[in-house]
Symmetry: C7
Subunit: 92 residues, 7 copies
């Protein structure tokens, strides 16, 4: 897990998306253009939550989220997704 | 029922869709392309609910839901639907 | 009235639509394609209501609802409509 | 005023629309196709209101409402409008 | 000011629109088709307000409102506008 | 600042827009058609605010607002903008 | 950081956008038309917050925000972005 120096506001969560699958289940290498956008990632920073609603996810959690969840931002040259906790479906 | 290692957040519910019908009521085999998307499934994991609103459905319940309810996610190589409890119509 | 083994969630109501009129007021038989979708039906199952808002309609009530109210679902081979109580206009 | 055996739910009101004007102010007979949809009617049944919000209109009140207010429903062979009280502008 | 026998509901206000200007500031007569819809009028009836929110405008007040505020209704052969108080910008 | 005899309702504010710039920063005269709509003005009247939410801006304040904020109204032959306080970004 | 004489209202924040990158990571100079709109800036003024919700960001904070966040305004000849605090993702 990367360490980033960033403090999300309110109920926002910074997620490092898992790398897209390189091979199919049967071992065939997937070309870049056919790679599916991952919907799984690891939490690298969390906000303090809203008033009386602390966040459930913690730094280090593996999470599942929607295909179009969050906004891509670049922090220290690396791409992350920043999303609201409500965009996260589940912890795996 | 499958066992999955996943913790849905808040009021989310993980559902394993029932397999689409293979035959019509009169016994004719339905080809894959004509199979209707099922609207029935079994709950395999539930979130803790929202503050002061615990969930009603439990793991193992057979549920009915809308045609376009939820988002498909793949957990351990298997497809599930993850939806909010409010997308579930009824327990059968 | 049909008996069905189904527990609607929250403020949902399961309705068995009345059969469409077979004849006009003056006795002319209406062909299938000209039959109007009925807006009347009988309640066959009701949810527990929301917190502090029990439902008003009861199983057995004849109800009127909007033309596009509810979602069609098939329970035990029979078609029903499942709708929120707020989609129901009146009890007749 | 017609008597109808119908119990509107919550804040709904059943209104019998006034017949469209047959003549212009100067006495010319208006053909059916040019008749304006009336925006006036008489309340024939009212719901119990919402929690802590009893309704203001009473059965028998002459009311004004918007051109597109309510839904047409047929009760005992007669056409009525069913609308929320908030669709009613004023009592005349 | 006209007297009308009408009781607006809740936060509704009945307004008699000021007649459109007949002349430009420099005295040129404006033909009917070029007359601007007035945005000014006089309050002729007010509702009781909502629970805990009595209305601010009173019968007789000259008010300014948006170009598309309210609905035209005819009461006793005369045209009025009925609008919510929140559609009124100011008292002049 | 103009004095106007007008009482805005609730959280509304009457603003006299600053005249559009006549020259560019480098002194070139801007023709009328190229003048930008100003986003700055002076408050000339304020409403009493909503219940428990008095307004922050005061008569005389120079304010910045969005390009499409408010509605143009003419009071005593002069054009003003009337807007909700929430359309105002800042006091300068 | 620039000093500006401006008081944002409520939960608004005035941000001075960071200059767009002049070079790519590998040192190639980026022409003006290819420069990406920055999503990073420095807070130069903050509002008092809403009732019971003081703001989290402070003057001087480096913040990340969405690509389309805020409205451009010119204060003392310089361009800024004014946005609601909820448009800010994180403090870096």
């Amino acid at each position: 897990m990367s360490e980033v120096n960033i403090k999300p506001l309110a109920d926002r969560v910074l997620v490092e998306a898992a790398p897209a699958e390189e091979k199919t289940a049967s071992g065939i290498i997937i070309p870049d253009t056919a790679k599916e956008k991952p919907q799984k990632g690891q939490v690298v920073a969390v906000g303090p939550g809203k008033v009386d609603e602390p966040l459930t996810v913690k730094v280090g959690d593996e999470v599942l989220y929607g295909k179009y969840a969050g906004t891509e931002i670049t922090v220290e040259g690396k791409e992350y997704l920043i999303m609201r906790e409500s965009d996260i479906f589940a912890i795996v």
